[in-house]
Symmetry: C4
Subunit: 223 residues, 4 copies
Amino acid sequence: MSDNGPSDRRRIFSLRTSRMEAFSDGIFAIASTLLVLDLAVPRVGPDVAQKLHDQWPIYLAYLVSFLSIGQAWLNHSVITEYLDRADSILLRLNLVLLFFVSLLPFPTHLIAEYLRTENAERIAVTVYGLNLLAISAFTSILWHYAVAEHLVRQGDREGDVRALTTKLDPSLASYAVAIGLGLLWPNAAVVLYLVIALFVIIPFRTVFRRIRPGRTRHRVGRE
Amino acid sequence: MSDNGPSDRRRIFSLRTSRMEAFSDGIFAIASTLLVLDLAVPRVGPDVAQKLHDQWPIYLAYLVSFLSIGQAWLNHSVITEYLDRADSILLRLNLVLLFFVSLLPFPTHLIAEYLRTENAERIAVTVYGLNLLAISAFTSILWHYAVAEHLVRQGDREGDVRALTTKLDPSLASYAVAIGLGLLWPNAAVVLYLVIALFVIIPFRTVFRRIRPGRTRHRVGRE
Amino acid sequence: MSDNGPSDRRRIFSLRTSRMEAFSDGIFAIASTLLVLDLAVPRVGPDVAQKLHDQWPIYLAYLVSFLSIGQAWLNHSVITEYLDRADSILLRLNLVLLFFVSLLPFPTHLIAEYLRTENAERIAVTVYGLNLLAISAFTSILWHYAVAEHLVRQGDREGDVRALTTKLDPSLASYAVAIGLGLLWPNAAVVLYLVIALFVIIPFRTVFRRIRPGRTRHRVGRE
Amino acid sequence: MSDNGPSDRRRIFSLRTSRMEAFSDGIFAIASTLLVLDLAVPRVGPDVAQKLHDQWPIYLAYLVSFLSIGQAWLNHSVITEYLDRADSILLRLNLVLLFFVSLLPFPTHLIAEYLRTENAERIAVTVYGLNLLAISAFTSILWHYAVAEHLVRQGDREGDVRALTTKLDPSLASYAVAIGLGLLWPNAAVVLYLVIALFVIIPFRTVFRRIRPGRTRHRVGRE
C-alpha cells in the first residue's frame, strides 16, 4: 500500500495482537499450573496427616504465586483489551514480562524449601519479592509504553487510561515496601505478598459499590 | 463513547471473553496433561508385568481426574458459549475455579500414593472429593453470577438457562454425598467419582434419545 | 429464536468449535513437549559421550512419539477445518481422543526404559502400539461421526470426505499389523511406528507430484 | 465449489492458519516455561547463598534458552502475520521447526550440567548450538517456502519480504560460526549465543532510530 521505503521495515513489526495474546496466555497458564508440581506428597506412614499439615508454608507459597500470576494475567488482559496493534518494542517488553512470569515457580520453590531456616528464608523471600516486583514493573512499563506510542485503540482515551494507571502503579510501590520488610521479617513479607495479591484478586471497590444501596444498575457494554 | 464519569472504571473491566477462554483452555489442558507425569514406570525386572498391573489404582485415579477435568471443561465451554462479555468479578470467579482445576493433580497424586493404606487413604480421598466439589461449586457460581448480572447473550434466555442449571447443580449434590461416603468407605467414593465423571462424559440422555426410533432428525444451528 | 421446547436442551450443545480447537491444541502441544522431560542427562564423567550415545532408544522413542502426536494433530486440524459446529457427542469423542494423546508420554517412557530387556520390551511396545492405535481409531471415529451427523460445512462434501477417509483409515490397519508384529519382534514394531509416522509427516504424494514436470501450478484457495 | 477432481486432495490441505498458530504458540510457550524446572533448589544449609551463586551457569543457560525461544517466536509470528493460508508441506515444515523448539530444554539441561567439565562441556555446547541452528534454519526454510509457494498475503510483497529475509538469514550464519567457535572455546560460544539472542531481542536499529532527533513520528497502521 504505502511505497515510501523507510516504512517497510517498520510495517513488518506492526502486528495483530492475537499471537502475542495466545503466547502470553500459554505462558501464564503453564507457569501457574507448573506450581502444582512443587506440592510434594509425603511418604505413607502413621503420621501422614501431620506431615501434610506441616507442609502449610508450601501451600501458602503455592497460593500466593497462583494469585500473583492471576493478578498479572488480569492486568495483562486489560492492557491487551486496549491494544490496537503491537509494535517491535512492545513485543519485546512483553517477552521480558513473560520471562519473569515463567521464572516465578523457581523462587516459589525456594520459599517452600527454606521457609523455616532463618538465613536461607531471607534470601528466598527477597528473590521472590524481586521477581514479583519485576512482573509488576514490566506490566506498568508495557502499559505506559503502549499509551505513549499511541498503540491503544482510538476513542478509549483519557479516563480509562488514568483509571488503569492508578490501578497498576500502587502495586509497584507495595512490592518495594514488602521487599524491604522481608529483609527484617521474612515471614511478614510473605503475608504481605498474599495481601497484595488478594487486594487485586478481590475487587473490593466493586464489591463495596454493589453492597451500597441505590447503586446505578445500568452497565456500559462494549460496542 | 459514554462520557459519564463513574462508568469509566467499570468499562475497563467489561472485556471480550476471548482471553478468559484462552487462559482457561490453557489451564484445563495443562492440568489434564500433567497428570501423566504421575504414572511412574517401574524399574526393569522379571516381574515388570506384575508391577505395572499392581499400579491399577494410579491408572484409575488418572482416569477419574482426566474425566473430571474434561467434565469441568465441557461445562465451562458451555458457559462461555453463552457469555456476551466478562466483567471484573466474573474474571476473578473464573480464576478461583482455575485455581482448583490446576490443583487437582495434587490430590490425584495423594490418592495414587495412599490408596492401599487405610488411614492415609481416607485423607487422600476426602481432599480429592473436596477439590472436585470446589471445581463443581465454582462452575455453578460462575454460571449463576453470569445469569444474575445479565452477562449472557440476549435472546438465549429462559429455556437454555434452566436446562444448563439443572445440569450443573446435581453434580454438586453428588460430590457432597460422595465425600461423606468416602469418610466411611474411601474405595467406594473413588468408584463414585468415576461414575459421576462418566455420567457427565457419556451423554446418556442424548444417546438414549437417539436409540429411540422416530426421533426428530432436524437440529437447530447457531446463526 | 426457535421456540419448540425439545430443542432447547439440544441447542446448549450446538457449540462453536473454537474452544474445542483451543483445548485440543493445548493438549497436543503439552503432550508433545512433555516428552522432552524423559530425555535424561547422564551424570558427568569421562564417558559422557558414550552414555549419551547409548541413549539412542530414548531419542528414537522421543522422535516417534513427537511425530505420532504431530500426525494426530495434522489429521485433527484437517477435521476441524471442515467442522461447522460441534455437538454434545462430538465433544466427548474428542475428549476420549485427547485422553489417549495425553497418555502417550507414559508408554513412550516405558519403551525408553525397557527397550533392551526382552520381556519388558514386548509389554512396552504393545502398550505403546495400543495407545497409537487408540489415537488413530478415535481420530477416524471423530471424522466418521462428524460426517454422519452432518456437522461438516455445507458444500465441502463428497470428494473431500472420501479423500480424508482414505487418508485416515489405512493408518488404523498399519497400527494393527505393527502391534501383532511387536509381539514377535518388538524392535521391528518400533521401526514400523517410525515409518508410519514418517509416511504421514512427509507428504510423499505431494512431493512426488511436484517433482513430476508439468504439474498444474494453480491452487484452490479457501474463500 | 471447484469440481475438477485432482484439486480435491489438495484443497484438504489448504487450511486456515489459526490452528497452526495456536499449536505453535502452545509449544513455544511450554518449551520456554519447562526450562524453569531445571533451576534446581539447593538443599538447606549454612552456605545456601553460595550454592545459589555457584549455579550461575544454569541461570545463564536458562536465560539464553528463553531468549532464543523468544526470538524464534518473534520470527515465527512475523511469518504467520504474512501467511494467507497454509498448505500440506508448510504445516509439516512447521512441525519440524516445533520439534527442535520442544527439544531445546534437553541441551539446555546438558549445558547446565556439564558447563565446568571440559570434555563434556564441548559436547553439550555443540549439541546446544546445533539445536539453535536447526531452529534458525527451519524458520528460514518456512519463510522461503511460504514466499516461493505464494502463500503470503497479496499486496505485502517485495520490500517486506526482502526486509524479513535480511533479518532471518544472518542468524543462521552467526550460529554456524558459534558452533565452530564452541569446538575450541565452549565458554565463548555460550556468551556468543547470548549475544545473538540479545541482538534479536533488543531491536537496536529501532532504538537508535528513536534516539536520533527529528525522526519521522508517523507510523503505518495495518488496514
